[in-house]
Each structure stands twice: as structure tokens, then as C-alpha cells.
Amino acid sequence: MSGESATRITPGNALRPEDVAERVAGGIKVGEDVGEYALRLGDDALILAQRLGWWISRAPELEEDVALGNIALDLLGHARSFLTYAGSAWGKSEDDLAYWRGEAEFRSCFLVEQPNGDFGKTIARQLVFSIFQHELYSRLIDSADETIAAISAKALKEVDYHRDHAIQWTIRLGDGTEESKLRIQAGLDSVWPYVAELFQDDELIERLDGVAARPSEMREPFDALVAQVLDEAGLELPDVQPAMTGGRSGKHSEHLGYILAEMQVIAREHPGATW
């Protein structure tokens, strides 16, 4: 259960995400529900980090090579923390989870799997996701699970910069040239079907009341900030049907398989290899 996972506090109120694996040997491990929730958080970050990494050497300007790369690195850091923590439920390391799970075992949402498209589409995806994550981590800093709270406290500060980057670009693109406006609007229209999934409650969320952030509660502030940004950018709120999704239960779009193939191939061809 979540209580037993968060009781080891070192002097000075500090927590140790690195010794989670040691705790498994000692017989203490995070409960499966909390582990499952941490997988969702870690997988979202991991898959988006992988998608954003592709932009390095391909961004429209050098500064965006660096910006998207930095955002990806922050996300990867979050993923490492969450996956290490989640892994303790099953005696697995972060690498075991990243490289040796198949599609059906990933708990990431549909949004982060979507192809990067052009810069406009990537920024549209960033706008949605960074505003969502800002709401998410703002709530998780008060989670009853202290490890999740600690990871979220760090993540929130970094996501603040991600959100700022996405908002500024949305405004520049929307209030830019005719071409840039077309592309950012098209980008928003293409990612909007995957927004609803981010705000769905389910049984795991109910069982983890107090530990997890309730997705449905975050929809209103999300909508309010998005409306404010789109208004400033001169863009329209997309009017599209939500897509059929299921990422939280391991049902993914056709894209995840290709993402994992690229991400996992080296580890799988050389199991146990180290630098």
C-alpha cells in the first residue's frame, strides 16, 4: 500500500530515490497501485523525451535544437526517477522497465506517442502537455506519497519553463505570418483528439485518492489557460471528437511500436552491456 512505501525518511527530511532497489532486497517495496501510477507518470515523460530527442539536428533554428533537447532531458530525468520508484514494486530497475517492456506494458497516453509533424504540431503538443503537467505536478507536490511529492517538486519547476516556452511559441506562431498561423492551428487540430484522455479518472485514481492527482479536476484550469493563450495568439479552440484511446491500460496507437523499436533495439541486441 502507499503508506509503507513512503516511511523511510532520512535525517533532515531528505528522501533517497536511488536506494529504492536496495529496499527491495530488504523486503520493503512500493505497493502495486502506487507503482502502476508512477509508471503512468514515468512513461508519459519517457515517450515524450524520446519524441523530442528526434528534433536535435532537425529543428528550424539552432536555439530550438537546444531548447527541445533541454526539455527532453528534463523529461528524461523525471522518467528516470518515476520508473526507478515504480520498479521497486516488481524488483525491476529503470533500465528493465525502459528497455525490456513491450507495448502492452507501457502506460503512456496517446498524446505523447503522436508523430512530431512539423514544428507547429510539436509546439501544439507541447502547449497541451506542458499545461497539463503543470497542473498535475502542482497537485502532486502535496501527494501523500512522499517520493512522488519530492519528484514532483523538482519537476514542477522545470515544467514551468517548458510551459513558458510552449506558450511563447504558440503566441509567436499564431500571431506571426499567415503560414505560421496555418501550421500552428493545424497542429492544434491534430493533437486535440488526444486531450480528453489526459483528464479521465479511473479505478486506480479512485483507489489512490490522496496519492494521485485527480485528472478530471485539472480540466477546468487547463481549459482556462489554453483559452487565454489561444485568444492572445489569435487561434481557434479546435472542435473535434475525442479519439478512441486506452494508453493507461496498455492499449496504444500504431506509433508506440516504432518508438519502442528505435529506443530499445541497442539494449536488446546487447543485453547486459555497459559503457
Binding site: 531528505a14 519547476k157 519553463y161
Partner: protein, 179 residues
């Protein structure tokens, strides 16, 4: 303003170990050490445990600046090496995430060293922005001291830095972002 709660231990042996650990510098910014950065959180002598030469085992706790900071492994290795050279053969370095690192913990001497090195130190205290419009304090050019500078890109060569240019002397420089 968040106060740095890390303190140099009072007990002599632990204080000696702290001073040695504090000589380790940031691998990317070699003029500033991990104590000045606020990365070094605590150093403790492990009671009743010794290395092969009878020297006490030492516990060192550090915290990363950014979640994905790749320098932490290098810093960890450097801490073990620095203490090893001074006779401590059993050094345990642990990473903690809480309390979350903030630029508020950077010492004034650290900031001065950054500036001398050519990196503008963080201006102002860490605070979360709640609106879509971000407001920043002016950043002083480390070369000519002008406040007439502009941000070229929010994300720079490392997670912690942004790239600025001085409108007066035209030189580009790195800015250590407030976190």
C-alpha cells in the same frame, strides 16, 4: 527566499570530510564548487564502520540541480576520488531529491565567481510564474556590466543556462537561470 539548510558539520572528522568534498567543482563550470552551488547537502561519518585502512566510512549526500542533470555522475565520482585521495576508502554518495534544489541556495561568493568566469549569475529569487506572460529581472553583462541585455534563447548549452547577448558590447554570454 528559500534558505539553504545544508550545514558544514561541527564535529571535527565530519567537518574535515566536508571540506574535502567541498573542493569538488562543477564539471561544466570549474570555478564554482558544490558547496557554493548548494549541491552538497550533508557529510557524515558513519559510526562503527571503517575502510580497509581503519579510516572511518563517510556518507555524502548531494542533490541534483535539474532532474536530468548529466553532471551528477561525474560529481559523484569526483567526490569519491577527492575523499579517497585524503585517505577515506569507503565513501557512500547518495542522491536526494527533497528539498528540491533552488538557485536561492547559491552563495554570494559562488555568484561572484560565476560572473568573473563570464556567466551571469541568477538574478532575483525563485518563484513560480502563474500567468502566461513571464516577467524577468534585468541581467547584467558579465563583460561590460551593462544592464542593456537581451535573451537570445531560454535554453542554453546546459539545462541550467540560457543564452543572452549584450546590446552594448555585443558579446554573447551564458546566464544561469533562476530555478
Amino acid at each position: 527566499m528559500s534558505t539553504n539548510t545544508a550545514v558544514r558539520p561541527a564535529e571535527a572528522e565530519a567537518a574535515r570530510a566536508w571540506d574535502i568534498a567541498a573542493t569538488v567543482c562543477d564539471p561544466e563550470i570549474p570555478v564554482i564548487n558544490i558547496a557554493e552551488l548548494g549541491i552538497l547537502r550533508s557529510v557524515d561519518v558513519v559510526p562503527e564502520e571503517f575502510d580497509d585502512n581503519g579510516n572511518p566510512a563517510v556518507d555524502v549526500t548531494i542533490t541534483p540541480t535539474y532532474s536530468g542533470c548529466p553532471a551528477m555522475d561525474a560529481i559523484k565520482d569526483d567526490v569519491v576520488a577527492a575523499l579517497g585521495e585524503q585517505g577515506y576508502g569507503d565513501v557512500r554518495v547518495r542522491l536526494v531529491l527533497a528539498p528540491a534544489w533552488t538557485t536561492d541556495w547559491m552563495t554570494d561568493s559562488g555568484k561572484a565567481k560565476l560572473e568573473e568566469y563570464g556567466i551571469a549569475p541568477p538574478t532575483g529569487m525563485a518563484a513560480l510564474r502563474t500567468g502566461p506572460i513571464s516577467l524577468g529581472l534585468s541581467v547584467k553583462c558579465p563583460q561590460c556590466n551593462s544592464l542593456n541585455t537581451r535573451e537570445l534563447t531560454r535554453f542554453g548549452s546546459t539545462s541550467c543556462k540560457a543564452l543572452y547577448q549584450c546590446n552594448e558590447c555585443k558579446e554573447p554570454f551564458d546566464y544561469f537561470k533562476v530555478l
